[in-house]
């Protein structure tokens, strides 16, 4: 009637979902270790070709897939994270030791709050975390009510790649267990938020009381199929943390 199209953020493929990500983009990637890592979107970004990226993630890749593969392909110039070194972070480790990737190390709670602040329109905030440590060197400090705080600035991004459990075409999201982690705050902190989900439900089928990320934070959503450890949404178990079906 008004000439506007009905709202649909649904993309038919991961290729379509990641189209247009430019070289040099700042890209938030959800996940804590493998939980909540948007592997299909990262693979699509790898195929899409954008390079000279700055990546914001809690970690710096595990094993050889997902974020580690993006790093291995030399597509990431700089990474902002809290915990790059892990037992299986050999891709990052080698690049870092060779001086081929920049690292900004941020305490995990400050990382989360900087992302949250960006989505909430807060420019910077005083936090007690890190005061008196090497990670607060050169930063403004202030005593407030007898306690010492460090000024930390909001951290925003051009793109967020997030993995959620289910969505509707408006982009309302629900997550699954600890795979939620950085998803909701990254969705709010990026100019363009791209979400992969197991499946996309009819509008109204996501319980409004259970929506964790309201759709206004989401720009594109793509279904990638059910995770290997679920059948019709029910947990059936796995025998490895990598998620191989048992």
């Amino acid at each position: 009637m008004n000439g506007w199209a009905m709202i649909s953020k649904v993309k038919d493929s991961v290729e379509e979902a990641v189209s247009g990500i430019p070289d040099g983009a700042v890209v938030m990637i959800g996940g804590f270790g493998r939980a909540g890592q948007p592997v299909e979107l990262i693979d699509a970004l790898l195929a899409q070709g954008a390079t000279e990226l700055t990546v914001i993630n809690n970690n710096a890749g595990n094993g050889d897939t997902g974020l580690a593969a993006l790093l291995a392909a030399r597509r990431v110039r700089r990474i902002i994270c809290s915990f790059p070194r892990q037992s299986d972070s050999h891709v990052f480790d080698a690049l870092y030791r060779a001086g081929e990737i920049e690292l900004e190390l941020v305490p995990q709670g400050n990382l989360a709050e900087r992302i949250r602040a960006a989505g909430a329109g807060i420019g910077a905030f005083f936090t007690p975390t890190g005061f008196g440590t090497a990670l607060a060197e050169g930063k403004e400090t202030r005593e407030i009510d007898g306690r010492q705080y460090v000024l930390e600035h909001a951290l925003r991004a051009d793109i967020a790649l997030v993995s959620a459990f289910r969505a509707d075409r408006w982009g309302n999201l629900v997550y699954r267990k600890t795979a939620r982690n950085f998803g909701p705050i990254m969705a709010a902190a990026a100019t363009t938020t791209i979400v992969q989900v197991d499946d996309i439900l009819e509008l109204g089928a996501v319980d409004p009381e259970s929506v964790v990320t309201p759709g206004l934070y989401v720009d594109r959503v793509v279904a990638v199929g059910e995770r290997a450890w679920l059948r019709d949404g029910e947990f059936v178990g796995s025998d490895s943390i990598e998620g191989a079906a048992s």
């Binding site: 790059p84 030791r97 975390t129 008196g132 440590t133 939620r180 796995s238 943390i241």
Partner: protein
Amino acid sequence: MTTTISRDQLAARVARDIPEGAVMNLGIGAPTRVANFLPAGLEVILHTENGMLGMGPEPAADRIDPDLINAGKQPVTELPGTAYFHHADSFAMMRGGHLDVCVLGAFQVSERGDLANWSTGAPDSIPAVGGAMDLAIGARQVYVMTDLLTRAGQSKLVKECSYPLTGVGCVNRIYTDHAIFDVTPTGLAVIELFGDNTVSQLSALTGLDLDDATITDVNHKELA
């Protein structure tokens, strides 16, 4: 010779000080073992910084849920009463003083309660801080659980930390394999000795002036 207790005995000793109803975060590594010694049925709520309250033990080998892990990225389970939340909420719980206790490992603790546990400062190491700095200032009671001595025999309790700091004046109590120490305004006080250890032996081992705040009528020799 001094007496030392095993890591599991130490975990059991820490667990004895956790009251029913406590909300607690256990750091990666040895502190995780404290959960193994909480009495069955005691309602203690475990927080994991990747977004969960009510964490349960590891699952059976074929019931691993890759969406359900702890801060060490190991598979865990959920207990009745579990709640999930995003990362910013999780760290707001710490920073906001909503956790009762956290138990952390340490490289060094100073007599003023400064903690060093995230980096040895070695020039060739890859830095990684994770949630260490947030946890160090993020609970009403911050307990450290550690051996008193390094493998090279040096005291981890020191006048000033030589390793990079995790937090300033943040530690309340240190559970070691030799004794338990409280951080007080005048330095470290020994509140409990294991085996036949004495405060003067520990002063010699640590090179620190230690207050004797032990309660003499408590017999903890069964731990040794």
